[in-house]
């Protein structure tokens, strides 16, 4: 009762035989008696034409092969065996005669090729086997096989010691275990100090083992003896291991052999693990206890057991760094491995970032959040229902440890604003490699700005991440030590940069809305909850993952004096212009104001503008005539910062001479109105600039008089006035900034 697949395969086989001109012969076909059974085909293959090399399988001139065609062919692979077990010691031959043709059948096997593809693979295999090229140089070796019968999985996590001949004997600490797996930690040589806790017995060989491991203890002892490992050592290792096991627990015996690695390269330890069941462990323990010097019953017990014992090999799930190449090794997130990260806010973004970093192998994670897990956030934040009511930082730390126990996860429910004011706790934060601010809090942003306002400043890169009100856009900034400003400052720069790009209106509208419909906030529990954004776990994860990737790239390619910002867009528009924007800014010129203690941050663009007007004046009016113009920016009275973002040259009605620059007013009102409108009130008139050609940039008597007149009169309405003076010349300008307050003149 052939299945349709089997009939197809046999038809193909007949075609291959016919075309092979005698190279392939069918000796016998045994069709399945009932539907669903395997069809067997005995084949004779001419191997005389394959080149030979020492170390290769010594194929006979004709080899008899047994092909087993499953009923579900081609959705199930055929199996191929030698008709004998003469080649059992060769790798890629398993269970004595099974030919291992495919390493990854899911990707290598093409069902549509049917038996044509299969027989082509057989031809390739035999050709490679005859010249010992089944493990070509530079490719991973086929590992030896143990036919596991135990359901227990052993997970070695640390690189093994390199055994010196004839062997290395000792223990591996069992660090974690449950019904699924036993994890092995530190390796301890038998002569070393043995720590507390459960141990596995270990023997590591500097040589190889047969490709198929024995399945009886007597067979294993025989192989080990042949490799100069005395049976007594095995007994002692097992007995010591037993004594370090609790009653009712099994014992793991680890046997390492130098059979892993790349063909032609260094051989690393391949590990096979044998689980001695709890009952036998207890029996061994009893025998040890009953043993005396005169009556060593434990020895007799071991040998009697060894005569007949079967070996239960366990599955080994490798986690040794020397064996496992991290799957994320070449990804952007590889940057975080071993880093120390401070994370402010463990909400939608923070809880997701923490988990991404945990999986990326971050070294230390300091988590801060003052809130606790509420039921409503479970739809999009990475917490579980049982964590409701737990502080978010604590719950995140718990999740991080769960995902990757090697991360040092510290948590605090402290308020970030207060924390930044505490010198000791601030020092803790500053010790990090990077600070991530995922609070989306203007209080935290202002607090960070205040904390790092001084110049020069000292802090690791500070990355801030925020989501839009529908979680379909995000904004990320990075502040660095050698450029002024943290979140608040860079957000402001981003806003101005976006306002200069007509295509970026959607980002501007999202994060700096002016539309009245955006003033109504989303409160998930009306009246009782903080306003938040609308969005799903998928939205949050998608944007957070993108932000984390980009942040990784920024951090991997640092530019000390450049702050950055980037917008992200998931609004689903796949046509038209690029909807995401990235900006960077070189450091400003920082001017301390000696009069009212402001800090003046002059953008490079503004400075470049002033220099160009100076050069123009030098070209047109000569080197001695003063020039100047208007300063546009913003003043933060709390932080005492004045930003100068844009400037103008001299208004056309200005009076320029070698003695003074009297700034005109023609067009200034319109210019100011345009800037306020375009930047949504972020850039407006803040003062004026003028030059002192060839002189020092200090306010002259004329300047002081002008200020007194301006700030005591009614024509000028503002509370303060920034006067910037540029001395020397355009090629080597000397700059000062002085803030004059109206109040100074009224007292």
């Amino acid at each position: 009762m052939k299945s349709e697949g089997q009939a197809w395969a046999l038809g193909q086989l007949a075609e291959i035989v016919q075309a092979s001109s005698g190279s392939l012969e069918i000796i016998e076909i045994v069709e399945p008696a009932v539907q669903g059974e395997t069809a067997s085909v005995s084949l004779s293959v001419d191997c005389s034409g394959y080149p030979r090399k020492e170390g290769g399988i010594p194929l006979k001139a004709r080899e008899r092969l047994l092909l087993k065609l499953p009923a579900k062919f081609p959705l199930e692979l055929p199996r191929l065996h030698f008709a004998h077990k003469r080649y059992r010691d060769f790798s890629h031959v398993q269970w004595g005669d099974y030919i291992c043709l495919y390493q990854a059948p899911d990707s290598e096997w093409q069902p549509e090729d049917g038996l044509f593809g299969f027989m082509q693979r057989v031809d390739d295999w035999l050709r490679a086997a005859a010249v010992s090229e089944l493990d070509p140089a530079g490719m991973p070796l086929h590992p030896p096989v143990t036919y596991g019968v135990s359901g227990t999985k052993v997970v070695p996590t640390q690189n093994t010691p390199t055994p010196e001949p004839p062997f290395w004997a000792g223990y591996a600490k069992i660090t974690r275990e449950n019904e699924n797996r036993i994890e092995l930690g530190q390796w301890i040589e038998h002569s070393g100090t043995i720590p507390d806790g459960r141990l596995a017995a270990v023997v590591l060989l500097p040589t190889g083992m047969p490709h198929e491991y024995p399945d009886t203890l007597s067979g294993l002892l025989k192989e080990l003896k042949a490799r100069d490992v005395p049976v007594e050592i095995i007994r002692l290792m097992i007995q010591l291991g037993v004594l370090r096991s609790e009653s009712g627990k099994s014992l793991i015996f680890v046997l390492g052999a130098a059979m892993r690695g790349i063909a032609g390269g260094q051989r690393l330890q391949h590990q096979a693990c044998w689980q001695i069941d709890a009952k036998r462990v207890d029996e061994i323990r009893e025998a040890i206890k009953a043993s005396t010097d005169d009556s060593p019953v434990d020895i007799a017990d071991f040998y009697i057991w060894a005569e007949k014992a079967k070996i239960e090999w366990c599955g080994v799930l490798e986690d040794r760094p020397e064996i496992v190449t991290r799957r994320d090794a070449e990804s952007a997130l590889a940057w975080w491995a071993g880093r120390h990260v401070v994370l402010f806010g463990c909400g939608a973004i923070g809880s997701a970032v923490a988990m991404l970093l945990a999986r990326a192998g971050v070294g230390k994670l300091q988590l801060y959040d003052k809130d606790s897990v509420k039921p409503g956030i479970l739809v999009r934040q990475l917490f579980d229902r049982y964590q409701i009511g737990v502080n978010k930082a604590k719950a995140t730390a718990e999740n991080v440890r769960f995902a990757n126990p090697s991360v040092e996860a510290l948590q605090s429910s402290a308020d970030v604003v207060r924390l930044l004011e505490n010198t000791d706790r601030l020092a803790d934060v500053l010790a990090a490699d990077v600070i991530i601010n995922a609070t989306a809090s203007t209080m935290v942003a202002t607090s960070l700005e205040k904390q790092f306002q001084g110049w020069p400043k000292t802090h690791p890169p500070i990355i801030s991440m925020a989501l839009g009100h529908k979680a379909d856009q995000a904004l990320m900034t990075m502040a660095v030590q050698d450029a002024p400003g943290i979140t608040l400052d860079i957000d402001r720069r981003t806003k101005i940069a976006l306002s200069n790009l007509p295509k970026a209106k959607h980002v501007l509208d999202e994060f700096w809305p002016v539309s009245p419909d955006r003033t109504r906030l989303f409160q998930p529990e009306p009246g009782c909850s903080s306003p938040t954004f609308r969005g799903s776990a998928a939205d949050v994860m998608a944007l957070t993952a993108q932000m984390t990737n980009v942040a990784s790239r920024w951090l991997a390619n640092p530019s000390a004096a450049v702050s950055r910002a980037r917008s992200f867009d998931l609004t689903g528009q796949r046509t038209g212009a690029l909807r995401e924007f990235e900006f960077d800014w070189p450091s400003d010129v920082i001017l301390p104001d000696g009069r009212n203690d402001f800090q003046v941050r002059v953008s490079q663009a503004a400075l470049s503008g002033m220099r160009s007007w100076m050069r123009r004046s030098e070209r047109v009016n000569g080197r001695h005539v003063e020039t100047g113009g208007i300063l546009f920016g913003h003043t933060d009275e709390f932080l005492k910062i004045i930003w100068v973002d844009e400037i103008s040259g001299p208004p056309p009605d200005s009076v320029q001479s070698a003695a003074a620059f009297v700034c005109g007013t023609a067009g200034v009102f319109e210019m100011n109105a345009e800037k306020i409108k375009r930047t949504r009130k972020s850039v407006a008139f803040v003062g004026m600039w003028h030059t002192h050609p060839g002189g020092m940039p200090l306010p002259s008597h004329t300047d002081y008089s002008a200020m007194a007149k301006l700030l005591t009169g009614d024509e000028f309405q503002a509370k303060r006035f920034l006067m910037m003076i540029i001395g020397a010349d355009s090629s080597r300008p000397l700059i000062s900034g002085t803030v004059f307050e109206r109040a100074d003149y009224q007292s």
Partner: protein, 372 residues
């Protein structure tokens, strides 16, 4: 040119002129571009010489070259031995064509032979060769490779009317993709500028024979060169991202600043009915559309991140669409009608054109490339 001078002044004041890596010029812009690139004068001297040139006008130089040199003899000889026979042959071809149409007599082969013969008649001189001669007074025997500004590349764009493709004279290489690169001694700056600025409505094309190498094979070809603006009115093709450097010239740049002295939108007052006016307007319409496309593409390159910045400094820019208007802005209406005919320029017009160029350059860079 006066508008361009204003733009260069602003770029100089902003410290950007020295940072320019590639000057790619077209048409009238090739004259000022070459004046800058092939002179090592400091900016003040360059500025002064250019003002003098503008005030004297190149037109006079062309007239002088035409009348007071061997050019007049060459032009007359060309008219006699090529112009008149061409006219006669054209008439004959037309008669044969009519005959063929009405009688069916197979004259097509004869017509083709006449056309081939007509095209082989020699061109000894023209207004454009006189123009080239006049430019030789400005640039001497300098070749396009002799750029005087360190690190600057120059591309002077012309168009070959035989193949309808770009033909570029460059400080690195000269030629066109249909012909290959010009071998041997590089062409002179005067020839390159004359070809690039030979506006076809006014000036005949420059006919030149060069030896080219293409794909390892050498060949001699005659090209018919006209104003580069016919093919690429902004001269930015070589700077655009995404071009295949194996096929054509490419100069990867981060920012493009386009200085365009075009008058902008048509005012819609004309009624181009007769042949000359309708052809001229049609040419202008195609030209304008092609220019709009290029601008749109360059803006798009910035939006997609292929280009870091693009600034369009455009004499004919609608003032109300400027990011802002300074109180003393020289308006579009004050300057847009000024002809680009190389005539001597009055001081008032010079002042206005230069000032508008300077003002617009500052406005555009302030807004779109403030960090440059």
């Amino acid at each position: 040119m006066a508008f361009h001078l204003g733009c260069l002044r602003a770029l100089h004041d902003r410290g950007l002129l020295d940072k320019v890596k590639v000057v790619s010029t077209v048409s009238g812009g090739s004259v000022i571009g070459a004046c800058y690139a092939y002179s090592s004068d400091d900016f003040t001297t360059f500025d002064k010489k250019l003002v003098e040139l503008l005030q004297n006008g190149i037109q006079r130089m062309i007239v002088k070259e035409t009348l007071l040199s061997s050019q007049i003899a060459k032009i007359l000889l060309t008219l006699i031995i090529t112009g008149l026979p061409t006219l006669a042959l054209w008439c004959l071809s037309s008669l044969l064509a009519l005959l063929r149409i009405f009688t069916g007599i197979p004259t097509r082969r004869i017509e083709r032979s006449l056309a081939t013969f007509r095209q082989s008649l020699p061109i000894l001189g023209s207004l454009t060769t006189a123009f080239e001669q006049a430019l030789t007074r400005l640039f001497g025997s300098k070749t396009v490779r002799d750029v005087a500004r360190p690190g600057l590349h120059v591309v002077i764009n012309a168009c070959d009317l035989k193949t309808g493709t770009a033909f570029r004279f460059g400080s690195q290489r000269s030629g066109g993709w249909r012909y290959g690169q010009i071998d041997g001694v590089a062409p002179t700056v005067a020839k390159a500028v004359a070809a690039s600025a030979a506006f076809p409505i006014i000036l005949p094309p420059l006919i030149e024979t060069f030896r080219f190498t293409k794909a390892g094979r050498a060949q001699t070809q005659t090209v018919v060169l006209t104003d580069g603006g016919v093919f690429d009115n902004l001269g930015v093709a070589v700077l655009e991202p995404g071009r295949d450097g194996d096929i054509t010239d490419t100069y990867p740049v981060t920012h493009i600043i386009s200085l365009n002295a075009g008058p902008g939108q048509l005012d819609g007052g004309d009624h181009p009915f007769w042949w000359a006016s309708r052809v001229a307007k049609s040419f202008e319409a195609v030209h304008r559309k092609s220019q709009d496309h290029v601008y749109a593409r360059l803006h798009r390159h910035v939006e997609t991140g292929d280009l870091e910045g693009f600034g369009m400094v455009y004499l004919g820019q609608q003032d109300q669409r400027l990011p802002h208007r300074p109180a003393d802005l020289v308006s579009r209406d004050e300057v847009r009608q000024y002809p680009t005919d190389f005539a001597p320029i009055p001081a008032k017009d010079l002042h206005l054109l230069v000032k508008r160029g300077e003002q617009l350059t500052h406005i555009i860079i302030d807004r779109y490339m403030p960090h440059l």
